[in-house]
């Protein structure tokens, strides 16, 4: 046991691997209950309209129909993420606000009957003029979607630090660029599904969700229930990426329909409904004005972002703040002006998606920074190194970076990719590009105002010490949190990994945690399980000190031991000074049980008070920030504009990797999502606001054949604010990709495409326009 850790830093087998590769594992849609009914939502077929009448009489006559509900049958309460923007109703009252808005719900004995009923429900509308872009929404005389959002402006942010105007006067060079980011969707493998049934006054909700706690909390508010009367369980979840964090119409409807019918009700989206209700990435128009010194040191950044929010707010308020919050984490400058305008439009509402609000601005700024470097004749990686923040920095908007190694990430990516031999020396049609990113390791504040701890864990040891169970409401949505939390619990306890199982994401069985979002599980739930493990260990060592008898002739020591003289690793309690003096964990645990009863460990985590005092200061706070650099090589077909990514190098500064293989898996997945958003993906609508490409043929996620080899590398760093020195990787790894690939395409062509995605046609057109400019 010469190694520092027994389980941390090891590629231990995933907890869920056999269930998932054999298909034995159950997802929500796999669950069946006796007398279970099937439900569907009734959707609007107008982008903006007044509901004149809903006639359900024909549908009600169908044999097998159990209940049909609309706004008149449910509370008229409004909900959302922040009280100032509670703008969504359970079902539309009076008006529908997008094509796909929820008008009601139906349930029946089988799915066939539900679909038949949907066809028989007649909704009469009076069409209203609609707005589909922020520009239309903001126009003089534009139709108002909500009374409380004049000119449809839903969120306005003005965060100003330092003195940009003064810095602008002093700058050697100032440049302005504009970019556009498109609407995208998460592309979860598992469409949303919820099953609800009642047991007396309590309701049991099985849902494909990222946070059992938030679902429980929001449902309690919406339904006027006590949190304790709602039990939320998530079985295996097939990906979330931010799309399973808002309360969905399925959740609320299944509960209400089950109450009415007295039977379990299952509700699920089909794929197209995921696009309509899944709350993907916002479209953004972004303008950056940056001033630098002759050497490329950034003096100020002015950043204005206009955001297409869709019909409701939900998590979109946080997306808007995140869009500008984290730029200051990457680069060191004091003068920053961030202005954002989020408009409501008559399109599906947008919300959180991997990297929350940040990937588009990262694409824009990384592209902008490359232009500045080019104008000054500075190498793109060099300008990033010059400006990279360092450990110990505090940003002007109040974030403290304990460990931060963006400079080192750039250097390793540069050297591993052979950048110096390639940049500017590549054959025609080939290019190399760099992009930086990173993310929070958990949000510094709860979604709602509370003083609750962010994560609580408990470990229960069997009476004979032969097994232990970790309890946490951290949610494993495929990222592997169950596995890394077992690793950290085992390490904390000094107990065999294979003898620890985990009970997670069940509000009745496990313990409070805010769930899987903002890349928080490893750090926050990690602290709680580590501390719970250490609590068990403390009790074991105290007990062991009473049990171990050191022989008189031991030479080094005699008499009774103190707990501090002992340690426990891998199920063996031993004397630190003389490891041969030992006793098994199991023996000690059994003795503890006989003497004291149940052996449990308890762990608690709260990040403490973080951040500054300005409006919106909470968003972007975190105990730890990751950083990442990606370098990609591409070819561009000069006649067609088709981009092929040949190779990519990702360096992640994520502290100590608890399970390196899981980290690399996150990086590969993040890169796939990133190139998809860079090159192919875009949610499209027709002129009436109807979704055009709610399928994977026309919404082009990357396939395996589109993926280049990914060289994922981990910097050897340690985060003081993270359990065992760990910080995040899940979302941060998506954020450099868009800028990185876009910069490689620019390097290959000399033509900048300033809107995502970089489709072949846009690249073709940019190259054509460049040729035409040069011919003049």
């Amino acid at each position: 046991m010469s190694e520092k850790h027994s389980y941390v830093g090891k590629n231990l087998q995933r907890t869920d691997v056999l269930d998932k590769v054999t298909g034995r594992g159950k997802f929500t849609a796999d669950l069946k209950f006796s007398n279970m009914l099937y439900g569907k939502l009734i959707y609007s077929t107008h982008a903006h309209a007044r509901i004149l009448n809903i006639d359900t009489s024909e549908a009600e006559k169908l044999p097998g129909i159990k209940a049909i509900i609309t706004a008149k049958d449910v509370p008229s309460i409004r909900y959302g993420l922040s009280p100032a923007r509670y703008d969504e109703n359970i079902f539309c009252i009076d008006t529908v606000k997008f094509y796909g808005d929820k008008i009601g719900a139906v349930c029946a004995i089988d799915e066939d009957t539900v679909y038949e009923a949907l066809k028989l429900i007649k909704v009469e509308y009076e069409a209203l003029p609609a707005v589909f872009t922020p520009a239309e929404a903001a126009a003089e005389g534009a139709p108002q979607i909500f009374e409380e959002y004049p000119r449809n402006l839903n969120t306005e942010i003005h965060q100003h630090f330092g003195d940009c105007d003064k810095a602008q006067e002093e700058a050697y060079y100032v440049r302005t660029d504009r970019f556009q980011g498109q609407r995208t969707i998460h592309g979860v493998i598992e469409p949303h599904c919820t099953i609800a049934y009642w047991e007396g006054k309590r309701v049991i909700v099985h849902a494909a969700h990222q946070s059992v706690h938030y679902l429980q909390h929001h449902l309690a508010r919406i339904l006027g229930m006590k949190e304790g009367d709602i039990r939320v369980i998530t079985p295996y979840v097939g990906g979330g990426f931010g799309g399973k964090l808002d309360v969905s119409g399925l959740d609320i409807s299944a509960i209400i329909l089950s109450k009415i019918t007295g039977q379990p009700v299952k509700m699920a989206y089909d794929l197209e409904e995921v696009w309509l209700n899944g709350r993907g990435r916002h479209g953004m128009d972004m303008e950056y004005t940056t001033g630098v010194t002759k050497e490329g040191k950034i003096l100020f950044v002015k950043n204005e972002i206009v955001i297409d929010g869709g019909a409701y707010t939900g998590l979109g308020i946080a997306s808007a703040y995140y869009a500008g919050a984290l730029l200051t984490v990457l680069y060191n400058f004091d003068n920053y002006k961030f202005d954002a305008y989020r408009y409501v439009t008559n399109l599906p509402p947008c919300g959180a998606q991997r990297g929350h609000g940040q990937p588009h601005p990262r694409y824009a700024f990384e592209s902008h920074l490359d232009h500045i470097a080019e104008d000054l004749g500075i190498d793109p990686i060099e300008i990033r190194i010059i400006n990279a923040r360092k450990s110990g920095d505090v940003t002007p908007n109040g974030y403290e970076l304990k460990s931060y190694f963006l400079k080192e990430a750039n250097e390793l990516a540069r050297d591993a990719s052979g950048w110096k031999d390639k940049k500017g020396k590549m054959a025609k049609g080939r290019g190399i590009g760099v992009g930086n990113g990173g993310f929070v390791s958990g949000a510094g504040f709860c979604q709602y105002r509370t003083d609750l701890p962010h994560s609580i864990a408990m470990i229960k040891v069997y009476d004979d010490g032969s097994h232990a169970i970790v309890y946490t409401n951290a949610v494993d949505i495929g990222q592997g949190s169950d596995t890394v939390l077992r690793q950290m619990a085992a390490e904390g306890m000094g107990y065999p990994y294979d003898d620890i199982s985990i009970v997670s994401h069940d509000t009745d069985l496990a313990t409070l945690d805010f769930g899987a979002y903002a890349s928080r599980q490893t750090l926050m739930a990690g602290w709680a399980v580590k501390r719970a493990g250490e609590d068990v260990k403390r009790k074991i060592l105290e007990m062991a000190a009473e049990m171990i008898k050191v022989k008189e002739d031991g030479g080094y020591r005699s008499g009774k031991l103190m707990p501090e003289e002992l340690d426990c690793r891998e199920g063996i309690v031993f004397m630190k000074q003389e490891p041969a003096v030992k006793i098994t964990f199991a023996e000690v645990a059994r003795a503890y049980f006989v003497k004291n009863g149940l052996l449990i460990g308890r762990g608690y985590y709260h990040p403490g008070k973080l951040g500054g005092q300005h409006k919106g200061a909470a968003v972007g706070t975190s105990p730890a920030y990751s950083s990442a650099t990606q370098v990609s090589e591409v070819t561009v077909d000069e006649e067609t504009g088709m981009v092929k990514v040949l190779n990519t190098w990702d360096v992640h500064d994520s502290g100590v990797a608890i399970n390196p293989n899981l980290l690399h898996g996150q990086v590969h997945g993040a890169f796939a999502m990133g190139i998809g958003e860079t090159l192919w993906e875009k949610v499209m609508f027709d002129e009436k606001g109807k979704l055009l490409n709610g399928n994977y043929a026309e919404y082009r996620l990357p396939t395996a054949l589109d993926m280049p080899p990914v060289h994922s590398m981990i910097l050897d760093t340690f985060e003081p604010n993270g359990p065992y020195g760990a910080k995040e990787v899940g979302e941060g790894a998506t954020t450099p990709t868009l800028g990185c690939v876009a910069n490689a395409v620019y390097d290959a062509t000399g033509a900048r495409v300033s809107s995502l995605p970089l489709t072949p046609e846009k690249v073709w057109r940019a190259m054509k326009e460049k040729r035409e400019r040069e011919e003049k």
Binding site: D270, L271, M642, E698, R700, P760
Partner: protein
């Protein structure tokens, strides 16, 4: 998305298939792999009450060489059958390669040659290469058989000359004087993307000159379309890069593409120019590869 109810017939013979189609008229729809029909039914673009499946008719599932006739491909042959056919690898690898670029493995396992033609989707990948190789089709109905050139089968998007009771039974690739053929599909991702432009070329090369050429364009007109002016332009000319580029320019004027969510008409026209040249070059240099 919801698949409505329907009745399902699975006859054993071509004759019975035609009889069922005739009997039920417009209520019935022929069903092979279902990769198009089922999706259209779910989207309510098609609402047949009856599906007549050819799944059990083994004689439609053969790929064989018949001396004096050519390579005969049954209409029930799947795309992956084309991909893995040794006979095609030997004679017309270009057909296998065209099939390999289609959709994804799941669709290639189910979708059929007859369906790819009969659905008459403008962006279908097989018709251009088959037409370039001068394929004919055998069409069978209750009154018997007829044979026609494949290029005459298409009338418009989703429309063919087939009568309600008729099915395509085989596709015949005659013995060639063409020395090379090739199909380039241009989709917007490496797999699972419809063609934005598809160009097939077949050439007869003699003494470094093109004796005859056939160029067929997919996804840029209501039906697969021959670039006849470009073919004429190439006839009896010495091969050069300029010549092939010239043919590309001419071909790009011989299509009437639309602007849709995948690409603009302007872009498609230019891609016809590019891929006509590239397909010709490949057919010249690499034979039927």
């Amino acid at each position: 998305m919801y698949l409505p109810n329907f009745e399902y017939f699975q006859p054993d013979s071509i004759e019975e298939t035609c009889q069922l189609l005739s009997q039920f008229g417009s209520k019935a729809k022929l069903f092979a792999g279902g990769t198009d029909v089922i999706i259209k039914m779910k989207k309510e673009l098609l609402s047949p009450e009856i599906l007549v499946s050819i799944e059990k008719i083994d004689q439609l599932k053969k790929i064989e060489y018949v001396p004096g006739k050519g390579v005969v491909i049954g209409s029930g042959v799947t795309h992956n059958d084309l991909v893995y056919s040794e006979l095609l690898h030997e004679k017309y690898l270009s057909i296998s390669e065209a099939a390999r670029q289609m959709a994804n493995n799941q669709v290639r396992n189910l979708g059929t040659v007859g369906g790819n033609i009969g659905s008459a989707v403008p962006s279908a990948d097989l018709p251009p290469i088959l037409i370039a190789l001068g394929a004919t089709v055998k069409i069978t109905g209750v009154k018997g058989d007829r044979t026609m050139d494949l290029e005459d089968v298409f009338i418009g998007p989703g429309k063919t000359v087939l009568a309600q009771d008729e099915i395509i039974t085989e596709v015949v690739i005659p013995d060639q004087k063409m020395t090379g053929s090739n199909y380039i599909k241009f989709g917007l991702r490496a797999s699972g993307a419809l063609a934005v432009v598809g160009v097939a070329a077949a050439v007869q090369v003699e003494n470094n000159a093109i004796k005859e050429a056939r160029i067929v364009l997919g996804a840029v007109s209501p039906t697969p379309v021959r670039a006849k002016k470009a073919e004429e332009f190439l006839k009896d000319k010495k091969i050069s890069d300029e010549l092939l580029a010239g043919a590309g320019v001419i071909a790009s004027g011989e299509c009437v593409p639309i602007t849709d969510i995948r690409a603009s008409a302007e872009y498609r026209k230019d891609m016809v120019r590019v891929f006509t040249r590239r397909a010709l070059r490949k057919a010249i240099d690499e034979g039927h590869a």
